[in-house]
């Protein structure tokens, strides 16, 4: 029996999802016979960790603070081992712009993009470069905040007149946004567990034109296929790209890499999520299930990996 602090909630915009992931993890840890300390992350985080003295922390937080390396840094200071990726990998993966630059450098295909800080528009007149960007990327253009983990703030600009409002919306979430070439195709996710890719999951939106935030977490809005039914060789290719991305960013334990399969059969990597959702409808648990690993075993394995990595 291990004393495990499950960190969840926090102030991130994905608080609700995180609370659900956390609750599910707590149940699993309980069934596995561990001593669970449940922590809704707030101002008293350090005090609670010091009081409860967990042997390991299971980070079930998504988005800001939990996924961007902040909480990981605090746990390093306290000397508490934790699940998933370390500070640097979290920082790299959460910053989509940085992650995409790294991918480009490493030769991992990712949709073409341009990224700007708010100051570029406010102080450097970057708006004048928009027509050139629009020409280069073609419409529709995807506009998204650099660091928001969920689909919040992601907009589609179908023409030049849509771009300013889309940028304003994206800047609501982050001071840096990216404009990205839209890939029309199939939505794939490859989860990695302990440096091994799991079966590919395909998310098939039921009725919406775009797979939106709502569909992402609501049962019945999206159909999932796992393993995804892909043409010859593409499963391996997708898994290989995902694993390369995972290693490139320096992830450990587990992560989920999101890809697009374009109409011409080309694969591109959109982003990596260092702490993917662990709710009933989340993709990592589905992929693990398809690989013959039930949820409790998945949680147990993630915990083991954290303990193995911890200095003795």
């Amino acid at each position: 029996m291990t004393r495990v602090a499950v960190l969840k909630g926090g102030r991130s915009l994905e608080r609700q999802v995180s609370l659900r992931s956390g609750a599910r993890v707590e149940d699993a840890l309980g069934r596995l016979g561990h001593d669970v300390v449940s922590i809704d992350v707030a101002l008293d985080l350090i005090r609670r960790l010091r009081e409860t003295e967990p042997e390991v922390a299971f980070i079930a937080m998504h988005g800001r603070d939990g996924e961007d390396g902040t909480v990981q840094e605090l746990l390093e200071i306290l000397g508490v081992p934790y699940t998933g990726s370390g500070v640097l990998a979290c920082a790299r993966a959460t910053d989509k712009v940085l992650a995409k630059h790294l991918m480009v450098e490493a030769g991992i295909p990712t949709p073409e993009f341009f990224a700007f800080n708010e100051t570029a528009f406010r102080e450097l007149g970057a708006a004048e470069a928009l027509p050139a960007i629009e020409e280069r990327l073609d419409f529709p253009i995807v506009v998204k905040p650099s660091s928001q983990g969920s689909a919040l703030g992601i907009k589609f600009a179908r023409s030049a007149t849509d771009v300013p409002a889309a940028l304003v919306a994206a800047f609501s979430y982050d001071s840096r946004v990216l404009l990205e070439r839209y890939v029309d195709g199939r939505d794939l996710a490859v989860s990695i567990l302990d440096d091994e890719p799991l079966p590919v999951v395909e998310a098939v939106p039921r009725d919406d034109e775009f797979y939106d935030f709502e569909a992402r977490y609501e049962i019945g809005r999206t159909d999932f296929a796992c393993p995804a039914d892909l043409p010859d060789g593409l499963t391996e290719q997708a898994q290989d790209l995902a694993l390369r991305t995972y290693r490139l960013l320096g992830c450990s334990g587990f992560a989920r890499v999101d890809l697009m399969l374009g109409a011409a059969g080309e694969l591109t990597v959109l982003e990596a999520n260092p702490i993917p959702g662990l709710t009933e409808t989340s993709l990592l648990p589905q992929a693990a299930e398809a690989a013959g690993m039930p949820f409790d075993e998945l949680v147990g394995r993630i915990l083991e990996l954290a303990l193995e990595r911890a200095p003795a």
């Binding site: 907009k155 940028l167 304003v168 034109e209 775009f210 797979y211 709502e214």
Partner: protein, 427 residues
Amino acid sequence: MKSSAMRDLMAVTARPEVISLAGGLPDTSTFPPDTFAAVAQRIAAESCAKALQYGPTEGLDETKDCIAAVMGAEGMQADAEDVIVTTGGQQVIDLVAKTLIDPGDVVIAEGPTYPGAVPVFSTYQADVVQVDMDADGMRIDLLEEKLERLERDGRRPKFIYTVPSFQNPAGVTMSLPRRRRLVEVAHERELLVLEDNPYGLLRYEGEPPAPLFALDGGVYVMYLGTFSKILSPGIRLGWVVAPPPVLEKINLGKQATDLCTSTLSQLMVQAYFERGRWRDYVDSLTAVYRARRDTMLDALADHFPRQAEWTRPAGGLFIWATLPDFIDTTDLLARALRDNVAFVPGEAAFLDGRGRNSMRLNFSGCDEESIREGIRRIGEVVTEQMELYGTLTGEHEAARPTTPEEPGAEVLRMPTPEQRDRRSTGR
């Protein structure tokens, strides 16, 4: 709320450091603890066993006397037999919907409508048709047009849902001529109306127009009342008055849902009303909220850019503000939360994706200082987004605050959004 994205955002608004203008909360800190203690003491001494027991589904006669007093204060008379005491007003919306709606049935509502009614109508799979409003409430001419069109399609609405006084979320009040016309339309077409009137007694100026229920005499108008805003939402006590055939079904529905409304709460209301001072408390609330409304209106004039418009409610709890159409208030809320201030994004009040550049602001739940500061912060992020938009489009229209010249005129004009704005790949 319809969108889970918004639900997730709203979850963050509950955090203590956030000035929330998002709730619909009355200020219960104004209720005298001594009175509460005396009421509880009296129940303990006189009706302890009864208070701890189940009660009749339709509610206690004692409570119905109090309901008669409240309705009387607004010029209404209802037969005690036509009343069912419910677990808050919200349960009335649920029970009426449950009783009357089959999947696909049409329900008419105002646009914007009460955000709390949206999930109810969605649950019972109603096809909600929303009728635009202006400063005089629901546009009955547009309602009649819609009814005509529905009739041509062979569709008959199950009922018309309206909050005629100090509407949630718009803050506007239906004028007396429109009320008369609405009741006429109901009679001509034999249509039920659900009048939701939680705020009628919270009037800060002017004379109240007669409730629909009083104009109609309870033939086609079903009436929803509540003690939440004049006493306490924590006691969860509301009521419905409806014609006998509907009432019977509501009664059956309520039995299935929760057997009866809390007997303890009902006896507390009775004991409280017997002290004879309930109007004084409403008056004290009215004074507090009037000052808060004025503070919010002043703060809006000081801090919101001149392109913004808002309603000037003569009562109730809410102001509805509309921003330039390139601002999406759900995204704006995410930005505002970074500055620890919250409001309800307008899309919560529509079932058809409209309202994306509007917001509901509550002025009853925060003190005046918080209201001023909250509006200042929201005004700042709105101004920031407008300036950024100006930079992006090359239109440098100054976003300086001034009072709108014709308040209320255009505020409720909701542009129909194009699909383009409907987000996102999720990736």
